[in-house]
Structure formats: structure tokens, C-alpha cells
Symmetry: C5
Subunit: 297 residues, 5 copies
């Protein structure tokens, strides 16, 4: 149900704070949070009740490390958040351009085509929206994601022989337009005027593929996870002597914040999936269909 | 009265500091601030006067958590502020382009059209400004905001059959220009010269729709609100033993700062509404009207 | 004298540190700094000498709040600094484009116009630089700043009937170029080649107007000022018990830093005024004049 | 084996945290980490067991310096991370444009060329993908990296006489297209329509060369390394008295975080090498080949 | 020797850490660092040995101020670093575009010019690279830097009568191309195809001039220097009682870090000088010469 809710009211705080949906990071993190709580409890028990370390034990000051590295980890996560959001927003922009592009092409063709050429009108009424839905399917195929992977993929039988459907659709449009030009139905000036739209389709597709098949460099992704893990795991050592059993919720909450930021970024950075935050490509493709139909009839 | 004040003097500190207007975040937050103050008072009373926790209680050090997470929450809010402002400024730029575009088209047509063709002049004098006001109305319709929502909207009767007015206006302009071209009133070279303006209208509209119907990903929006809530709610536990009753204003002020940043961002990120910070689209549309009238008479 | 110094040596530290000029923020802030010092003295006297609060008083820990909010206020000011600088730099870029555009148009016309057509050359030699100086005057008019203000302005008599001078100048250029095209003095291909420059003038003007008539959203401006004010005013309460009379310079310096950042941002964000940091539009217009004259004779 | 893994699953935490691959920064840093641990042990032994400095020794507060500079170093590393990532992502975009450009050119030529002209088709089917593989080889040559170096390079024999292969390929394409134009196989309007693609090839090549031959300014690179070194080397002096032997892992971990960020940035900022994070140029060139072959047969 | 080293190995840590070259900031800062060390020694002597202030003196807590302002100063320096680097990188991009532009123009002309027209070929083979070297000289002239300065410059005799050499070169190219067009050696379509390159030269020149003659606003530059100065000068007051003689290296190191960031930014923000980090314009101009010669023979 939630998966179908793209537009939400950003001003509804109650919903945001108290409704925990299936897609929430807290659901994914739940097992780890339980583990980290038990682990913290173990450390507190060990330090405070078993070893009976005094308030002046060296262990207490381990928190210095967490505070010196607090800036670094926050900044790294903001870097992560920014790059993930930029990809998501670029994806949204690309699909926005697809809408504009389809509308513009349709309007120009409506105007350029002679009133009696119903055949061409019908052709474009069907083919322009086809591009959007072909792109939608293309971006959700496993083989698109793995396009640049240098390992063989025996599990995907025609990995390399897959025809590139959006390219085929673009080709058929350009072919048709050139045909009209050769038959003098549209003039050379009009051909030039249509060129921007013809180029855009392939460019939008290429840019979407780039976002899809290139996650952020493995080094950053791995380093951030290692950093969060070590940071959280060493936290109770320092906190136990200052906080006693309060160490448990504190460690859990700090881990929840850090890991959530990474988890959300992971989800956002590929905006062409089927998660709740992903772009409603199907809906956009429908809108294009309706718009083009409106214009070209 | 305030809602009509778009241009303010950015150097007037007294006004900014002491005038609390209806639209101020403090008005929206007032009930929550009262609640949070009472809640803080409760925690202080509990810890200091009822349980009589000593200065050395573990509870006192809970503030470590707030200080370790202080960076994270500040950075997240700045990320929020930046993205919201970017949308607002992009919206402003788009309406600025609309002004440029309308002026340029009007100037070119004035020059290209033969002096005797009063009919075409009158046509464009009316239709160019019409685009801006059609876009204005289009952006404030509920159905534009919910365009990408995958839920059905029975409360909006012709949700899907709504004609797209700005498209219709653009279409009529392109139709007219093509007509002039076919009748050899403007040449092929002039058609190419007019192409940029013809494309721009639809592109501006598409970009405004994108800003309108796509808030930032639900995950971030929900996570930030959850984070602020838990941060503020746990604050008095740690502060009570260090600050006594001072805990109340301190907690309230920290909550006010964090929540205000989120609230302002929520308001700014959709610049096409009717709030005080929203773009004066009506005024801009009026200016376009006056400009175009000036040029095309 | 200082107001005429646009190019300064960025490597001169002594000048930067010790010369306090009239335009310096410290001059603007002087009265407030004196007030804040007296106020801090009052608080110190009250807490330390009158109430004789002990070192363990709850008041001492109020500084926790300032340290938790230290990140938030710094980041907000950096956000402010970045957006103000971006506007200033965008303004500079726009005037740089104006230079390029004027030069390019002059060079192309020199080359396209037949050697004997002295009349057209003289026309463009005068009109191209006129655009820059018309834009300069347009941007410094009160009515340009208040263009989008929805309040009536009885103090500016022809607020709405003001002719838009830069538009008139652009119009006359485009008219002349089209005339040359109609008379076959320049060809259709050359018309297309001149199109980019023709569009640019109006676009530069529109972008400058946008920067001029749109300060950052009132909510941010007001919130930042409120935040600085409350932060500075509560500072001595916490510091008095730790710093004694040192509270006075410390509070004053912190206030000086925070308020200066806001003040500089206010000045920078409108780069088309007459302050020391504002763009030397007159000088640039002169350069354009000299350049165009050089080329077109 | 790892070197061939470009696409990884960004959601696989276990892999990211526990698998330490050859390319990991920890392998590069291992010797330094051992040294820094021994060094920390030495300082602790000296201060705590040999000199027996008391808890109140001045040395203990040296940590103040690390905490005051903690912001500065974190921000500098984030600046480093951002610029390195921006280059990497720009490189990825450039190769993405190469894909789009090759596809677009192929599609347009397919449509523009008469069905019987098999010769030209074969020509472009071979030459378009050749550009990508020529660029790939060009970017991995030592002489491309040192192009702007002002020192002589006797170790590279034909440093200055190297023919610029991608330029040659671009030339042959433009030559062929112009030939088709002269022979009226494609019209003037079609020539203009092909112009964007012709320009793009050289521009992509130039931009890749720029990223390759220009590391970030030497001053920043040297300053960041000096800063990390001094920061890490002085750390144990302050920590020893608070942390005892815990100083050793704490210093090592802080150094590991800071140095890793610099190391990853160094690797990322040149995306055209053969490291694990570098762009799979060969794979992309293969895809272009397959795409173009698909289209032009 | 160092001044000729543009390409350095970014992975060489030993060199970066231990080699102190003439151009290093530490050389420039040396006298100030000695002064600041003596000054710190004076303050320590005064507070600790002469006045014998106790550990509980109010002076000790002055460090609170440095820690509250630590964020602000770090962020301001990162803002400074970012803007300086952006200018440097923009400068690099502009010279990269110059390379692309020169290559593209040469390739197109090679192809468009008839094989027998050796005269035109020789002309462009000489004039295209001339633009780069004229721009190089133009950017290093004192009068270019002071172009927008409103003070008179009697020390530069023909400050205002200087001919603008790059403009002259661009003019001669455009003149030649137009000549070829008039004589029907190149067609109108080809003229349009050459237009982008013709525009680019003047635009690159204008953008370089902008970077050269516009340092960041004086207010920011002066404010940052004042802030660093006061921050460093007040530091020993607070540190003396906690650190004793350790105050001296700590103050010196903090000052070194803050001042270095400002110094590097000053050097980087004008990338067209002759410092070690500045762009190797001469080398790039040589490359253009070699490239163009390769293509046009």
C-alpha cells in the first residue's frame, strides 16, 4: 500500500514520526539493533559489574576518539547523502526532460505535418510514448544494471545479445522524420528545428543507464561501512563507565542514525528501482501517453 | 498584509528580530513548544526533586550522545536547507527565464512581422502573456501537485481528464508561427531563429511541474523528523542534572532551532504555493503582460 | 576613496588586518558591540558579585546549549555566505558575458558588413555600448529593486509606466539586423550566426533583474537574525561564572564574528549597488565602449 | 579477480565490512599502521611508566589542539573527497556522453545514408567504435599523463612526436562526412544536424585529457599530507595520560581514517587508470562496438 | 626547478611531507611563526610564572571561545578553499576548451578547405596557435589584472590605449572565414558549422579576464584575515594555564594550519600567474601549436 504512495504531505509530522512502515530503515536495522543492544549490555556488565573498573579507569576516556572522529563520520555521511540525492534528483530531471521532449516533439509534429497526413500522426501518437515505456522496462532489467560488469553472467542467458529496445524506438522515429524530409513533407529548416528533440531521447537514455550501472566507487562504499561498524562497536567501551546501562539505548540510537543515513543513501542512489522512494516511472510514462494523445488528435 | 510583502529590506535587523508575524515558524511551533516545556519541567522535577539523583548519576552523561550527534543533525539540516533553497531558486530562475523568453519572442516577432500585419501582432500580444498566467494557474491546481501520485483521487473529479492549459497555449503559438512560415511571411532562417523560444516555454513548464510534484524523498523527510523528535525528547534527561530548571528554556530553544529549519525548508521547497516566501507569480505574469504590450504595439 | 578601490592585493595581510575602513562591518556593528559589552558586564556583575552564585550553580552549564548549537549556527552562516557569494559571482559572470557578447557582436558585424556601409557601423558602434550603460542605470533604479513587490509604491511616481530602457536598446539592434537581412546585406546563414548574440542581451538583463529583485527568502533572513540575537544574548549567562569579566570581550568577539558574516552576506547578495564590494559596472561599461570602438572603426 | 569487479552490490554490508581485498587502503597502510602503533607504545611507555607524569601534567591537555583542529582536518578531507569524486564522476559522464554520441551518430547516419551505400556504412561501423578504443589507449599512455609537465622526459623516447590517435580518427570521420556533403549524398541541413556529434568527440577527448594531466594543486596535496602526519604524530602525547595503552589502537584508528580518506581520493581523482575503482573503459568501448554494429547493419 | 614541476605524483607521501620547497607556505610564514612563538612564550611566562595565576583562574576558560568559534573559522576556510579551487579549476577548464576549440577548428578547416588552397591552410596553421600565446601574454600583463580598477594608474603608461591583442587575432580569423564564405569557398551551412568555434575564442578570453581581474570580495578577504589574527593572538591566554610551555608549539601549529589555508587559497585563486600551482599556459600553447601543425599539413 505504502509502495504506491509517491506524493506525501511533507508537513505531516505525526505521520513521519510515529508511523513505521515496512520500508522504513528501522525494519531493516531491527536485527542489528537488537544485536548491538545485547552487545552493549555485555560490555557494560563486563566493565562495570564484573571487572568493576573505577571511574578513573583509562577506558572511560576512549570517548575522546569518538568525539575527535565525530566530525569526520558526520561529514562523510553528508557527502554520501549529497551524492545519493544528486543522482536521485538527476534521475528525476532526466524523466522530466523526457516529458518535455515528448510534448515538444508532439506539438511540433502536429504543427508541421499536413492536416491530411493521418498516418504519420497515428505513427507518432503511438511511438513517442513507446519510448518512455521502453526506457522504463530497459532500466529495470538486471542486464542494464550489470552492463559494465566485467564478470561473465551465465545466469542471464542473452546478456550480450539483448537488443537495445529504446535505441530501436528512437531509430524508428528518426527514420520516419528523415523519410518525411526526403519526401519534402517537412522542409530542411523544419528538420533542423526537430534535431534537438531527436538527440535528446538517446541522451536521456544514456544518462539514465549511467546512473543505473555505476554506484559510487567501491572504496568509499566499503570504507564508510567499515567506519560505521568500528565506530559503533567501540562506542560502549568508552560509554559504559560514564553511562552505565544507559549505554545500551545511547549506542543503539547512535548506530541507528549513522546506519540509517547509509541505508537511505543506498536506496536513493539508484532511483530506477521499485522501492518507495524510487521514481514513479510508470506513472510518468502514462502521463506522457495522455499528453501526446491529447496533442496529436 | 505580510503575505503581500515580497521585497523586504534584508538589512533591517530590528524588524527581523522583534516582529513576529503570523507566518513565522514560532507561531506554528507554539503548541509544541509549550508541550516540550511542560515535558522538560516534568523530567527535571522527576530527576532532581523526586528521585533526587546525585550529580554523579549516570543520567548526567547522556548529554554525550547529544554532543556526538550534534554534528550529524546540524549537517542533515543544512543538507535539507540547501536542497530546499536550490528548488526555490531554481523555481525563481525558471520564472526569470519565462520573462526573458516572452520578451525575446515579442521583440523578434515585432521585428520579423511586416508592419501591416496587425492581426498577428494582436494575436501574440495576447497569447504570450497568457502563457505565464496559464502556468501560474496550472501550478496552483491540486491536480498538478498530485500528478505523479499512484493513489486514486476520487475527491478531484476530472483528475485525469483535465486539459493541460499551458500546452494548449504553446501549441497555438507554434501553430501560428508555422502558419506564418508556410505563408512565407517569415523565412526558414527566421523559423530557426524562433525555435529556441518555442522550445523554452514547454521546458519551463515541465521543470516547474517537476519541482511541484516531487518533494524530497520520503525517507529523508521522515528520518529528519524522527531524528529531531528523539533528539529533543531525550535532551532533558541529560540536561536536568546539570541545568536544573534552566533545562526548560534550553530544551525549548534547541527544539525551536532544529524544528524551524525543517519547517522553513518544507515551506521553501515548493515555491509555487501561496505562502509569504513563495514566488510572486502573479506579479511576474503582470510584468510580462506590461512588457509584451510595450513591445508589440 | 576606498569606494573606488575595486582591485586590491589579496596578499596584503597588514592592510587587511589593521586598516579599518568606513565600509568595514566593525563600523556598522560598533554601537551594538558597545551595547552588548555593557549588557555582558551587567550579567557578570549580577551573577558573580551581586547574586554571588557559586561555581556549581546550574547557570554555569548553560554553555552546553551554545556548544550544541555551535554547529548549527556556523553551518547556517556558511549556507548564507555561500548563497550570497554565488549571487555576487553570478552577477560578475553575467557582466563578463555582456563584455564577451558585445565584443563578439561587434567583431561579427565588422566582418559581415560591407566596407562601404559606414552608416551601419556607426550605428552599432554607438548602440552596442549603450546597452551596457542602459543596463547599469536600470539596475540601480529603485523601481527595478521593487519590481516584484506587491505593495503599492506611491513614493515612486511612474512605478508602472517606466519604459524598460535596455529592452528598447535591444529592440533597436534586432530591428537593424533584421533590416540588413531583408535588404540582403547579410544572408540568412549570417542571420542565424548572429542569433545567439541577439538572445543573450535580453537574457543577461533578465538574470541581473532576478538577482536584484529577489533577496533570499524572508524566513531564512529573519530566522538567522533571530538565532544570532538569542545566541549572543544568552551567552553571558553561561560564561559569567567561568570567565568573570573576560566574558565581556569573549561575548563581544563571538557576536562580532557571527554578525559580520550576516552583514557581509547582506551586502554581497545584491552585487548591483554602490558599496565597495559591488561590481564596477561603470568601469565595465567603459571597457565595452573602448573595445567596441576599437573593433568597429 | 577483484580488479574485474566493477558492479558491486552496494547493499552488501558483510562483504564491505569483513572482506579485506588487496586493493583496500588497509593493505597499503599496514606498514605505517604498525609503525604508528609502535611509536604510540613508545610515547605511552615514556610518559606513563618512565617519566611517571601525573594526571595533572600539562601534557594531558595537548588534546585541546587536536580537538580545535578536528573540524579543520575533517573539512579539508571532505573537500578532498568532494573534488576527487567530482573528477571521477565527470570522467564517468564523459564516457557516458561518448556512448550517447556514438549511438546518435550511428543512428543518424543509418537514416541519412542511402540504402545502397554499403561502403559508407561499413566505414562508420568500424570507425565510430574505433574512437572509443583509441581514446582508451590514449588515456592510459604515460605520455598523456605527463603532457603538461615542463620537465624533459628522456625516458619516453617519442614524447613530443607521438601522433595523437583519437584526433586522427575524428579527422577521418569529419573528412568522410564532408565528402558525403560535397557529393550531395547528404544535404546542408543534414550536415548541420551532424555537427553536434562531430564536435563532441574532440571535446570529450580534451576533457578526459584535462582530468588525466591535472592533479589537484600540489600545495593542497602536500599540505593535507603534512597536516595528517603532524596531527597523528602528536596525538599520543596528549592521549597517553588519559588512555594509557588504549592510546595505541586509538591513534592507529584515527590515523587509519584520515589517511584512508586521502588514499581513496588519490586513487579516485584519476579515473582513467587500472585500479579497481577506475572506469571500465574497455567494457564501455565494447558496448559501443556492439551498439554501433547493431544499428549500422 | 620546482617551478617547472606541474605534474607531480600525488601518491608520493614522503616527498609531500618532508620536502619543504621554496614555494611552500611554511617559508612565507616562517617569520610570523617565530614571532607568534615568542609571543606565546611571553604570555605563558606572564600568566604562569610572573602572575602565578592559579589553575582556577578565569583566564583558563577563555578556550571556550576558541572552541565555540572553531566551527566558524574552519567552515569559513573551507568556503575560501572551495571558491579558490573552483576558480583554479574553471581556469583549467577554459584552457582545456581552448585546446579543444583550436583542434576542432583546425580539423574542420582541413576538411572544408579545398586541397589546392595552401594559402588559407598556412594562414590558419599560424593564426590558430597564435590565439593561445596571445592570450597567455595578455593574462600575465599587469594591465589585465587592473582592468577594472577605478584608480588611475600612472605607473602603467598606456593603461587605456593598450590594443587588445587576442581580440585582434580572433578578428583576423573571423574575417578570413567570412572572406571564404563570400568567395563561395565554404558554403552557408559550413559557415554555421564553424560559428560555435568562432564564438568560443572570445568567450574563453572573457572568462579568463574575469577570473584574473576579480578577486573574492574584499570584505571576505579582510574579514578572514582579521578573524585568523585575533583567533591566534588570543589563543595563548586560554592555553597557558592548561598547557604551560606546550602552549608555544600548539599555538604555532594552529596558526600555521589556519594561515596556510588562506595563503594557498590566495595563490590558487589567480591561476594565471607564474607560481608553482599556476597553470602551465606556455606548455598548453605549445601543445596547441603542435596539434594544429599536425592537423593542417
Amino acid at each position: 500500500m505504502i509502495a504506491s504512495m509517491f506524493y506525501y504531505n511533507p508537513k505531516d509530522w505525526i505521520l513521519a514520526i510515529f508511523r513505521i512502515t515496512k520500508s522504513e530503515t528501522i525494519m531493516t536495522l531491527a536485527p542489528t539493533l537488537i544485536f548491538i543492544s545485547l552487545y552493549s549490555w555485555g560490555i557494560v556488565y563486563l566493565e562495570v559489574y564484573y571487572l568493576k573498573l573505577s571511574e578513573n579507569s583509562y577506558a572511560k576516556d576512549i570517548t575522546i576518539m569518538h568525539s575527535l572522529l565525530g566530525f569526520a563520520i558526520s561529514m562523510l555521511l553528508v557527502f554520501r547523502t549529497n551524492t545519493a540525492y544528486d543522482r536521485w534528483w538527476e534521475g528525476r530531471k532526466l524523466w522530466g526532460s523526457l516529458v518535455n521532449n515528448s510534448r515538444n516533439l508532439a506539438i511540433k509534429l502536429k504543427v508541421f505535418l499536413p492536416a491530411e497526413d493521418q498516418g504519420s500522426r497515428t505513427f507518432f501518437r503511438q511511438v513517442i510514448p513507446l519510448y518512455a515505456s521502453a526506457l522504463h522496462k530497459h532500466l529495470q532489467k538486471e542486464s542494464t544494471k550489470l552492463q559494465l560488469d566485467e564478470k561473465p553472467h551465465p545466469e542471464l542467458p542473452d546478456f550480450d545479445n539483448n537488443p537495445h529496445v529504446p535505441n530501436k524506438v528512437a531509430e524508428s522515429m528518426i527514420f520516419k522524420i528523415n523519410d518525411l524530409y526526403k519526401n519534402k513533407i517537412i522542409s530542411g529548416d523544419q528538420l533542423i528545428v526537430l534535431n534537438d528533440e531527436m538527440r535528446s531521447f538517446t541522451e536521456i537514455c544514456g544518462a539514465c543507464e549511467r546512473i543505473k550501472n555505476t554506484p559510487i566507487p567501491f572504496s568509499y562504499s566499503a570504507f564508510i561501512k567499515k567506519f560505521i561498524f568500528i565506530y559503533a562497536v567501540t562506542l560502549p567501551f568508552g560509554l559504559a563507565l560514564s553511562l552505565g546501562y544507559f549505554t545500551i539505548p545511547v549506542t543503539a540510537f547512535i548506530f541507528y542514525v549513522l546506519a540509517s543515513l547509509e541505508l537511505i543513501a543506498e536506496e536513493i542512489e539508484d532511483p530506477f528501482g521499485t522501492d518507495i522512494n524510487d521514481l514513479p516511472m510508470e506513472k510518468i510514462a502514462d502521463n506522457i501517453k495522455r499528453n501526446v494523445k491529447d496533442i496529436l488528435t
